[in-house]
Structure formats: C-alpha cells, structure tokens
C-alpha cells in the first residue's frame, strides 16, 4: 500500500471501481446528497424526533412502537435489521454504544456523530457511564439505574426518553423540537419544556 493520502486513495479506488463497472459515480453522488440533506422520509435525526414526539403524544403509537418496533418504524422508513426501542422510566436511563465498531440505528437516524465513533466513547461508556454522561453535562440521579446497551449483534437501538415536564397539550410538532439526537442515544436529556 502506498503512502498516499486518504483523499488520493479514495479517488483511485473510485476510479478503478467505476472503470470496471463495480460502482457508478452517479449513485455515489446521489447517496451523498441524500445523506447530507435528507428529505423528510429519509433516515435522519429529524425523522427520529418525529417518532419520539409521536410516542409521547399518542399512547397507542407508543404501545405499537414498543411491541413491534421494526413494523412500526417501517411505516416511515425501511428497517433492514432488527431494532429495539428502549423506553426510559423514572428508574432506568438507557444509553447505547457499540464497543466493537460503531453500530448505530442508521436506518432511522442517519449517520452517527463523531463522538459516538470515538475510541473514548467506545472504551469508556460501558465501564463508567456516569462519568461519561457527565462529560455531556448529563447528571443522572444516583437512584436511577443506567443501562448501557452494547450493540454487539445486528439489532439496533433507539432510546425513547421520558416526555419532558411542562409539555401538556403540546402538539407533536412542538414536542419534536425538544428531541435531540443525543437524547435518542441516551447521552443527553431532551430539551426542557416550558
């Protein structure tokens, strides 16, 4: 392997693959465009926020989402692998990680943030989740169990946080503004209500 830069190596690989018909440059372009500017029905943080907001607003949807997450999420966007929804409660706070690589619910949320893929997060959150969450500014009550889910198989996870206080009567669209990506991974709480 030469010592060329990743940029040069990536370009060389793509040229070779295109030349021999293994990829088409147009499909690469289209995939990047979709990832960087997803429409409303493409995997993205915004899509995940809609799911969480609806689960907060609609008890039937929440029940369906927990009982059949693949089917329920599949109504919005195809789920090629199993996915489980982890509902936080007053006594359990869920956090997801993939210590072995960087498995993430991309089929729902799009690409993971850089910190999720970092060695620091991967190595530490299974061992000392309270210390790691504190680095996000998240302090979990000592009486609350933190459960860290290591995504060691093909099943993916989505955290369903507790609905913030002070949001009585809010619409789904209003609720969705409180749902951050990190809240769906479990490293931060949703934004506060009123």
């Amino acid at each position: 392997m030469t010592e060329s830069s990743p940029l040069e190596r990536a370009a060389r690989l793509e040229r070779g693959l295109v030349e021999h018909g293994s990829v088409r440059a147009t499909e690469i372009d289209a995939a990047i465009a979709r990832a960087e500017d997803p429409g409303g029905d493409q995997p993205s943080t915004a899509l995940g926020a809609r799911v969480v907001a609806r689960a907060w607003a609609d008890p039937d949807y929440r029940a369906r989402l927990l009982a059949d997450p693949v089917g329920t999420l599949g109504e919005l966007v195809a789920q090629p692998v199993p996915i489980a929804v982890l509902a936080d409660t007053p006594s359990v706070h869920h956090v997801i990680v993939c210590t072995l690589c960087s498995c993430y619910p991309t089929a729902l949320l799009g690409n993971p943030p850089a910190w999720y893929k970092s060695f620091e997060y991967r190595s530490r959150v299974v061992r000392e989740p309270r210390a790691v969450l504190a680095e996000f500014g998240t302090v979990v009550d000592p009486g609350v169990e933190i459960r860290v889910h290591d995504s060691t198989a093909e099943q993916r996870y989505l955290v369903l946080p507790q609905r913030p206080a002070g949001t009585d009567g809010w619409t789904e669209d209003q609720l969705a503004t409180l749902v951050t990506r990190d809240a769906m991974i479990g490293t931060r709480y949703p934004r506060a209500g009123e």
Binding site: M1, P6, L7, R9, A10, A11, L13, E14, G16, L17, H20, G21, S22, V23, E27, I28, A31, I32, A35, E36, P80, V81, P82, A84, V97, T99, L100, C101, S102, N111, P113, A114, W115, S118, F119, E120, Y121, R122, S123, R124, V126, R127, E128, P129, R130, V132, E135, F136, E145, I146, R147, V148, H149, D150, S151, T152, A153, E154, Q155, R181
Partner: protein
C-alpha cells in the same frame, strides 16, 4: 494478509482505560471532507457484494497502531481497498450480490427470558462479536432479540451463515468492572456464544 488473527484485537476496546475524555462536540457535519462521503457511499455499494461481518473483519485486521491513528473513514477505506482486491474488482472481475437475510420474528431457542447464562470463552482466532470484557461472565437473558446468521461464518466466507437466535443478556456492572460500578450492561449474544452457567 493474515486472515485469522483478529479476535483479540485493539478494536475490542470496551472497558479499556486510557482513552481520555469523550470529544463531545455539537458539530453535526455528516462528512468532514468530501472523500469521506465518497468512501461511505462506496461502502454502501460494495457491501451489497459481501457481508457486513466481512467488512468489520477486514477493519479488525488493521495493525493496532494504524487502527488507533486512523480516522473512522480511513479505516473504512483501508477495508474497502482490501475488499475490492479480494474480489478482483479492480481487475475487471466482480462479486455476486449477497442478499441480506430477511427479517424473521424471534423464535424460542435454547434459552428463555430469565435464564442465567454464561458467555463462552470466545478466544478462537477469527471474527467474533463477543467483546472480551464479557467473556465467561454470567448474565440474565432479558429477551430473545432476533434471529440472525452467525457472524463468524458470515465474516469468514463473505456469505451469510446459518441462522441462530440472538439474546439480549443483562450483566451487572459490578461483576464486570468492580464494586464502584452501579450500572448494568446489556449485549446481544448469539446462542452459540452462550452456555448454561
């Protein structure tokens, strides 16, 4: 390339010390350079011709220092170069598409929710999805998570292997990391990675 030596690699970093604070940023850029996007998208295409486990296994064979000093998409690029080479994709050969298995509902297997199980001592060289920090630990089955091909075979052959039940198993943080740990850890482990305790 030595193809059989990655079970105890540096990629298996769960519980490791020394990596310092998490680089928490609110940077939401999907790609931090155009080439990253192209690598990511090429992976999406090439992974139709092999298994996700084969791709992971290739990454795991990066030498430790290179793994730790490469960025995320540099590791992907390294694996894609090897994937293209092993299929002769740059010499005009190709690879047949590989079909991801259809999702089937979880089915009852050897273990049931509530069972105590011991994680096997998975030390045989090759790809493996049992992190080292869980080896030989005892946990409790919470649910049957799914049915999925065994990653060992999928990684070794580039074709999806035989199906098996996958269980979500919950462990005490105290067992894993000592008395100061007050949390729990869950992992999804295949039936062949679990034993009666």
């Amino acid at each position: 390339m030595r193809d059989t030596l990655s079970v105890d690699g540096v990629h298996d970093m769960g519980g490791m010390h020394g990596f310092g604070p998490v680089p928490v940023t609110d940077d939401e850029a999907v790609f931090h350079a155009p080439w990253e996007g192209r690598v990511w998208a090429m992976a999406g295409v090439l992974l139709r011709r092999t298994t996700i486990d084969r791709f992971r296994y290739l990454i795991e064979q990066m030498p430790p220092v290179q793994y730790l000093t490469s960025s995320y998409y540099e590791r992907w690029l390294w694996a894609l170069e090897r994937l293209a080479a092993e299929h002769g994709m740059l010499e005009g050969r190709g690879a047949d598409p590989v079909t991801r298995p259809a999702l089937v509902p979880p089915t009852p297997g050897r273990f049931a929710p509530g069972d105590q199980v011991r994680v096997a001592n998975r030390v045989v060289p090759g790809h493996c999805r049992v992190p080292r920090y869980l080896r030989r630990q005892v946990g409790r089955v919470e649910r049957v998570a799914c049915v999925w091909p065994r990653p060992e075979e999928s990684a070794a052959t580039g074709r999806y292997g035989p199906l098996e039940s996958v269980y979500t198993v919950v462990f005490s943080g105290r067992d894993l990391f000592g008395p100061s740990a007050d949390h729990t850890v869950s992992a999804d482990l295949g039936e062949s990675d679990l034993e009666a305790p």
